[in-house]
Each structure stands twice: as C-alpha cells, then as structure tokens.
Symmetry: C2
Subunit: 638 residues, 2 copies
Amino acid sequence: MIEQTPKVAARKSIFDLLFGRPLSSDEDASEQVGPAAGIGIFGLDALSSAAYGPEAALTLLIPLGIAGISYIVPISASIIVLMGIVYFSYRQTITAYPGGGGSYTVAGENLGVYAGLLAGAALMIDYVLTVAVGISAGVGALVSALPQLQSHTLALCLGILFLLTLVNLRGVRETGFIFLIPTYLFVFSIAVVISIGLFKVFTHGGHPIPIIAPAKLPLPVEAISIWLFLKVFASGCTAMTGVEAVSNGVQAFREPKTKSAHGTLTTIIAILAALLSGIAYLVRAYGIGATAPGLPGYQSVLSQLTLAVVGKNIFYWITIGSILLVLSLSANTAFADFPRLCRAIAEKGYLPYPLTLRGRRLVFSYGVYALALLSGLLLIIFKGVTDRLIPLYAVGAFLAFTLSQAGMVMHWKRKGGRGASGSMFINGLGAAATGITVCVVIAAKFTEGAWITVLLIPTLIYLMYRVRKHYGKISNVTACTIPVDLRKIEPPLVVLPIQRWSRVAENALRFAYTISDDIWALHIVNDGEKGDEGKDELMKVWSQYIEQPAKRAGLKLPELVVMKSPYRLVLTPILDYVMELGRRYPDRQVAVLIPELVERWWWYYLLHNQRATALKLMLYLKGNRRIVVINVPWYLSS
Amino acid sequence: MIEQTPKVAARKSIFDLLFGRPLSSDEDASEQVGPAAGIGIFGLDALSSAAYGPEAALTLLIPLGIAGISYIVPISASIIVLMGIVYFSYRQTITAYPGGGGSYTVAGENLGVYAGLLAGAALMIDYVLTVAVGISAGVGALVSALPQLQSHTLALCLGILFLLTLVNLRGVRETGFIFLIPTYLFVFSIAVVISIGLFKVFTHGGHPIPIIAPAKLPLPVEAISIWLFLKVFASGCTAMTGVEAVSNGVQAFREPKTKSAHGTLTTIIAILAALLSGIAYLVRAYGIGATAPGLPGYQSVLSQLTLAVVGKNIFYWITIGSILLVLSLSANTAFADFPRLCRAIAEKGYLPYPLTLRGRRLVFSYGVYALALLSGLLLIIFKGVTDRLIPLYAVGAFLAFTLSQAGMVMHWKRKGGRGASGSMFINGLGAAATGITVCVVIAAKFTEGAWITVLLIPTLIYLMYRVRKHYGKISNVTACTIPVDLRKIEPPLVVLPIQRWSRVAENALRFAYTISDDIWALHIVNDGEKGDEGKDELMKVWSQYIEQPAKRAGLKLPELVVMKSPYRLVLTPILDYVMELGRRYPDRQVAVLIPELVERWWWYYLLHNQRATALKLMLYLKGNRRIVVINVPWYLSS
C-alpha cells in the first residue's frame, strides 16, 4: 500500500478570483461565525418580515375602517406571544440538537421518519418560494420607483439571484459580512422611526400630529368576526417566517456553538418583537391603515408611518431604501439554510447524495445550485412577478413550526426529568397555536394557491421515498461481501471499427494487440455511396500493412469483417455484430475499441460526424456487463 | 475476411411514421422527380417573386406620382430580357454540368476555387435569408389579416419552419407533391386575373373601368433620373431571385436528367415572364401604383390589381390566400437547394464532411438541419419580423448570377467550337447586366443592410478556407503509409479508481486482470470529511477480498494507492497520478479503468455525482496518446 498526500494545495485558477481560494477540510473553524454575523445570515428573512407582517394583517382589516386599526395591537400582541413560544421551542431545539437540522431533525427523531420528511418538504418549498418572492418583491419595488426598468424585471431578478448564488458559494463567513450592513441599516432606520414616533406620542399626550398625514381610512363595511380575526392573525403570522433559520444552521456557528446560536436567535427575536410592537403601537396612535394593494394611491404601511413621523426627507428615503434592500436580500437566509436542510435529508438517503458534498469553500454547493435553479425557474415562469406565490409560503413555514414543536413535546416526554413538563406545556401550546395557524392559512388561502403547496408537499415526500428506495436497491444489488473471482481470466475479444488505414487506426490496432490476440476489425461499406473507395483502399493495404507485420511478429491475424450497409447506417451494424459476438462467446468479455481523433478546440468537432460518441452511447444503452468500451485517443496537436 | 450484409432492412421505429421508411441507397431513382413536381420544388421561390418584384419597383416610383407608373412597362421589359439571358445561361449550365451545383460549380471550375467559394457563400447566405424572410412574410400577412395572432408571430414562424424541415427530411419526391398544389393554385389565380384584366382592357379600348378603384396616386415630387431608374431596375430584379435553383438540383431529376431539368427551367421562366409582363401591362392600364409600406392605407399592388379586375369576391380571397401561401412556402426552394449546394462544397473539403452524408430518405440531412438552425436563429433574433433583412438577400442571388455567367464565358472560351462565340456573347451580356445589378443593389442598399452581406461573404469564405486547411492538416498528420508497428507489445498499466468494495468494483477489477497484471487501485480519502469510513472499510477487506484471491490464482497483487485529499478533490489526484505513472513508465500505455453503474433511466443519474463522466472528460482533455480510457459498465437492471 502506498500512501500519498498531494504537496501542492490546489492549482491556481480563475475560480479563485470568483469564489475565493479553496478551503481545506480542516479550515472549517475559520468559516464559522459569531452572533453578529449570524444575524446577517440567519436573521435577514425573519427581520424583513417586520416589513410585511403588520401590513398583511392591516390589509385584511381595511373593511373595518377606522375601527379596524385598534385591533392591530391585540393581534400583534398575540403574534408576539406565539413568537415567544416558538422562540423558547427553538432555543430548546438548539440545545437538544446542536448538530443542526431544525424542524426536520426534531420531527424526524421524535415523530417518525415521515413527520420529518413532511417538515423537510414543507421547509424546502418554503425556502424556494422565499428566494423567488423576496427577490421579485425587491425588484418590484425598485421597478415601481424607476418605471423605465419595467421591461428588465426578469433580467434584474435573475441578476440578483446570480449575485446571491455567487456570494453564497464564497462561503458562510463572507456572506455574513456582506449582509451585515443592510441588516443593521434596516433595523437602525426602523428603530429610529419608532423611537421618534414614541417620543412624539408621549409629548402629545397620545395624540401626535403626523408631519404628512396618512391615507384617509374608508368607512367600515363589515364588523369583526371570529373568522376575520383568525384570518388577520394568520396573515400577521407571516411576520414570523424565517424564525426557524438559526436552528438549521447551528453547525455554522463558532464554538461554543449552542451559545452562539442562542445569542443570535435571542437577538433576532428580541429585535423582531420590538419592531412589531413599536409598529403596532404607532400605527394605532397615528391612525394608519393599509391601502388596497395594486390600486392607485397604494402606499405601504411603513412608508405612511415614516412619512407621518419624520416627513419626506433624506431619512425617509434611507428607510425606504433599506426596506427594499432587506426584502430582496431576505432570500439570502434561504441560501444559508436550504443547503444545510438538504444535506441533513440527503445524509439519510432521501435526497441525492451529492447534496452532502462540500465544495471549494466548504459550502454544500449542490444545495446552493439546486436552490438557485429552482427559484430561477419560478422567476422565469412567472416572468419576475411572483405576487401570486405569496399565499403559498406561509403554509410551509408554519407546518414546519408545528411539527418541530410537536416533536419537542415528544422529546420532553421521552426525556422526562426536571422542568420537562413545563417545557412540554410551552411546546404543546406552540404546537397547538401554530397548528391552528396552518389550518387557518390553508383554509383562508386555499383557492388563492395554498392548494399548490398542499399538493406539492406529498409529491415531494413521495419522491424522497423513491430516492431512498432506489439507493437501498443499489446498495443491496451492488453489495459485495465475497472476494474477487479470479478464475478463468481470459483476454477479451476485441472489436475495432476501422474505416480507413490511418495513424489513428494504427494506434488503436497496436493497443488492441497489447490486451488481446482475438481481434475483429469491422469495416462498413456504404453500398452505392461515394464512400465506396474507402473499402478498396483498406482492402488493398490490409495484407501488406496489417497481416504481414502480424505474421512476422508471430501474432494471430485480426479478422477483417466487411459489412455492407444499404441503408447507410454505420453504428447499427457495429452494435449488432458486437451483440452477436457476445452471444457466440458467452464466457468472454467483448472490448469495443473506439479510435478517436482528439482535436484541440471544441469547434473542430463540428467538422466531423460524432459517430464515436454516438457508438459509445449506443453501446452504453444497449450493452451488457460483458461489453466494455475502450477509447483510444489520438491527439492531433501532439 | 468475412463479408456480411444485414438481412433485415432496418428496424421499425417511431421515425418511420415521422419521416417515412428508410430508403436504401439503390432506391435513389424512385426519389427522382419529373418537370411537374420539379416546379413545386425548385420553382416556388422564383414564381413567388412575381408577388413582390413589381411591387418593389413600383414602391421606388411613388415619388414620380402618376408619371411613374408608365415606367413600369419598360423596366419590366428590361428585367424580362435580363431574365431571358440568365435563362439561356442556366440552360447551358445544366447541359454543361449535369452533376448539379449551379453557380458554385460553374464559377469554381472556370474562374478558380475562390470565385466558386464566393458564389457558394453568396448563395448560402441568400438561401438562409430566403427561408427566414419567406416564412416571416407569410406569417406577417396572416397576422395582419388575423391580428389576434400577433403575439404568436414567432411561434407561428418556427412552427412553419419545423413543418418545412420535416417535409424536406421526408425526401424530395414527397416534398414535390406536397408543394404542387399551392404552386399551381397561385399561378392559376394570377393567370386568371391577368386574362380577365387583358380582356377588359381590350374591350374598353385600353381604358378599363376598375370594379374597385385603386388607391389615388400622390402628386409627383421628383423627376426620373438615371440613378432612380437603376434603383428601380435593381429592386425589380428581386423578381428574378430563385431562378438558379434548378441548375443546383439537376441530380434530383428523373432520367434524362438534363432534359427534365431544361423542361422545368423553361416552364418556370416562361410562367414568370408571363406573370411579370401581364402584371406590368395591367398596372399601367389601370393606373395602379404602390402604396407606402408600413403606413396606414397600405395595400399590396397585387391586391389592388385583383380588386380592380374582379372585385372583392371569393375569387379575390382565393388569390390573396394563394399569394400568402406561396410566399411563406417559397422557403422550400432553399430547403431543396441549400443541402445540395453544401454537399457540393463539402465534397471539396470546404465545409464539414457530414454535409455529404445522405440520411434515411436519401436527403442530405445535415444540410437541412443546418438551414433550419440558421434560419431559425434569424427568426428568433428578429422575433419573426424580418423586413429589415430583405435588402440583404438580392446581393447574394445576383452575385451568384454574375459569377455563374462569367464562368460560362470562360467555359465557352475554353471549349470553343460551333456557336461558342454566340453563347459567349449571351453569357457576357448576362454577366455584365447582373454585375451592374449587384453594384447598384449594393450601392443603393448599402446602409440599409447590404453591408452585412458584404461583410458576411468574405467571413464565410475565410471559414471555408480554414475548414479546408484543417482537413488538409488532419489528412497529412494521420496519413499512414507504413505497416502497423507490432514490436514490443506489452500489456498496459491499469489504473483503477476504487472508493468502496462493491460488485461494480469487483467486476472492474476482474476485467483489469483480463488485460494486464500491472494494476494500481487508487483510493481517495477525504481527510476530515464523513466519507472517511469508506477508507477503513476498503482497507479492512483489501487483504481478504483482493490480495488473497490474487495470490491463490498466482497473479501479481494490485498496488493499493491511498491518497489524502484535503481539498475534497477526487478527480485531480487521480489525473495527477495517471500522468505521473505515464512519466515513470515512458514505454508503456496507461489504461484508466472507469467502473460505472449503468442505471435504467436517465433521471436516476440525478442521484449520483457525475465523477465517472467528469474523469473521462478530464483524461480526454489533458491526456495523451498513451492514455486509454476503459469504461467497465455494471448494469443495475440485469
């Protein structure tokens, strides 16, 4: 046995510039992040929810007129309470499962394989949608500000997707640093607006005067009902999507991993809760309602709020800009989590194995590619306008929440001990609350598109089941627990297609003799075609150039098989002959030698027919275990 | 030597339905056509010119107002005279070159290789443009009649292109029959209009009363000038494009080929001349001028003429319909000629060799594919609206005419004998007239796009020159006029990458022993990755499963090379080792054995990494003549 370690790290290449130098497997630690960068990576999705969660709730309250606004405070309060429960649950998940994997792992280990796959499938769909919707929301806002870009919507979306993919392929650490600035800018701007707003509310005894008045609220046309309240609650809950991200990515954190992850999660939840409650309080104080989306005069709630509090100055534009930026970059959280989730599922054999491989920057590159490809397809299909997809993606997130909480209930039940029953209660409450939310979201949005998710999830689970089954089959069939069978080792029969005598053919024939003495040279004659002369040429030289040297060297003569092909087919007769030879000599292997001229540049291949390639493909498809294909290259340049 | 002819003709397949049953090479005669079908195949392009030639001339006469119309008769007369000269020239070409090839052959054999290539390149561009412009003109007319189809313009264009391609792949004979009906319908309708028109002119003493009055002519804003006259003449000459088609396709005709081809050419020219003179005469008699294209109130000259003569009844719609049909099908002539032209050029080595191969229906299929691909690209780039390409395509046609006539002058000069000087004079006159036309077209349309053709033609010739040179190089370098060298025949060194002990690996190792005793098993260990266990597993079984059986069989033990790969690269270390082995044993060949699991369906390949394929590609690109790649398949299904 020889042991070798390559001396050179890796070759320098153009990829170094694009993706950064390759990282060796033991540089893993350097790619890990602390809580500060963690917020940029795993918090963007959750924090950006503050920009659309309250708006989603208020939009459903429009029919209630001015009376509706007062409901936003209790609804936000309930959402924050639910978020608190979910927070404690994920905190415990992180402690219990420091290996990462989040809902998939928790549900899988506590509720059974299929519950895990259900959570996994739901999250996968959720992430793909997050990327498509996030990017298209950002571009949509940009386009409404600069209408001359309208016709480039799709190109802009794909461009951002490409950049996100590139950044994420460069590794976790770099991604964290790049996304730190927009995240903090966003949090800072909203926090300033809220602070000034609160100050004004207090100095004006609860009745502040808006600098720019918000849109007038319509007259009420409806009264509050339980169903409406539930729908508002469910819509507002979109403010919670993205909260599971940290628990999936524990492995990306620096040691002590659990503590870093806890810190990140706590910070994200605290900021999000502060933003949500501040927004809810100010919206009521200023009397700001949602405007009907898609209609003239539409203005987002955060835009109205900022105008009311600080007026239309440079700070307003910074705030709006940071919202747009964070919305379109919220896709990044999916890029951080999706590959890790896929890896966790692939390690159990339910997704293709390459998803477990780490690329040059220690990122699970295939997961990144898969996410980019799937969300890119969505963007292309919907031409960059994915509004219709928004109803689809709360389902996945809340299904995952529910399963994760339910899983934690079982976890505590099994584990028992001090505090277990308290934890069980919290998780049980969370499971019930998020479970109800899932039902409400599905019921409320079913016809708007939630049915697609309801169909997609089982399809995905079925595919995962099939993948696992196929791997199982391969593993069974190829398992080899016996020694190699080395009896009756005989040289193979060699088949060599040869059209004219050239150095390419000479090289191939010479190689044929190095592996066997039993050689069949197949020569196809296209009857009636101009190619006829080839036959004569080869036949003329056959004895002189091939048979005589073989005789002199004391080798067995190759058998020349001349085949007529009235239908001008070349490959079919060769394939047929190979198969027949295989039948005639059932104990021998057949090696088909394919002489190939290797050109220097690909475009030269346009000058040749691709018979060698086609023959290889045909032999591969129609062949069997005893047929082996040998490529004998002849390099034109050397 | 064994001689074989396959018993079965060819396997039945889905392609039979689509393309018809395969034709054997000796069924060539059954695919040949007589003059009647010949007009449908080779005449469509020329005859459809009657629909746009007079219109093109009249459009340039608009500034002359009512006075302009009177010039159409002398101009049409000169065009018909020129056409007569070209006709005699091509008649003689057919007699002199019954092998076909038209302008390319005539110019090449009489004026030198590059004159031939010039004609060839010009015609190739002309044909590609004919297809794109013809189809898009037809679809354009259809869309202006049914505006609801507007948004499907490109799809309609590509659909027609697809159908034309399919029909042409079915063979010459079928194509001829399919296109017979629209051709005759077109000729018949126009002939009827002209006859009724002439009758009315005579019965009204030269001043017929139009049933529906043509558009009022504008007041003159310009007087006639030599330059305008030349431009009108040059524009009107587009009525002659497509006339060369028959001379390229002589081989497609039934015996006696020359006579059949002559008959077809004479019929086409006679009909075209009759249509052109009839249209010119009636246009003047009825006072019909062109309307500005692209502006409101536009109506084609033929439409105005038909309305004036027969009114707006069913016959009007039949006529207009047949014009549209013939315009969009005129592309078919290019499909008949382009592959033959390419074949003629490829036979001399100036275009890729596969263009000389005949497909299942004895058609030069690669030429058909190339034409479909190139014109399809044009259609896609211009989104199905190719008006801007029209100025480009008279250049190619007239350049080919000129070269062909000039070639014939040289032909007669060399041949001499009775009547040679007369023929020389006719061809010389034709060369001069068409030569002047080329100059006028280029000068008049240079900025409108003719410059593209002027640039493209030399580019194409340069490419052809490079192709020829590359073939020459291959032929020189691979030429082998020595017997095969069979001294020092030694078995190759075998390199076998192996990650875990499986039946796939067992199968490959067994094959390795059938060709050589010198085996290196390469095992890559991804240091620090989870894959680590693989190493242990293989090492554990190595002695028991591999070394002991080899010892028992009295074979040399394979060398196990364990390589650490800190950067998780698998292929690079293998490639490096193979290259090093090659350097260490400079006299031996290295055979890299690639064990491969063959799955039943392609989608299963998504479940595996494509390392085998990638390794083959890397070895192919970076390898050398001494490195041979052997695929050892292991079929999962069998």
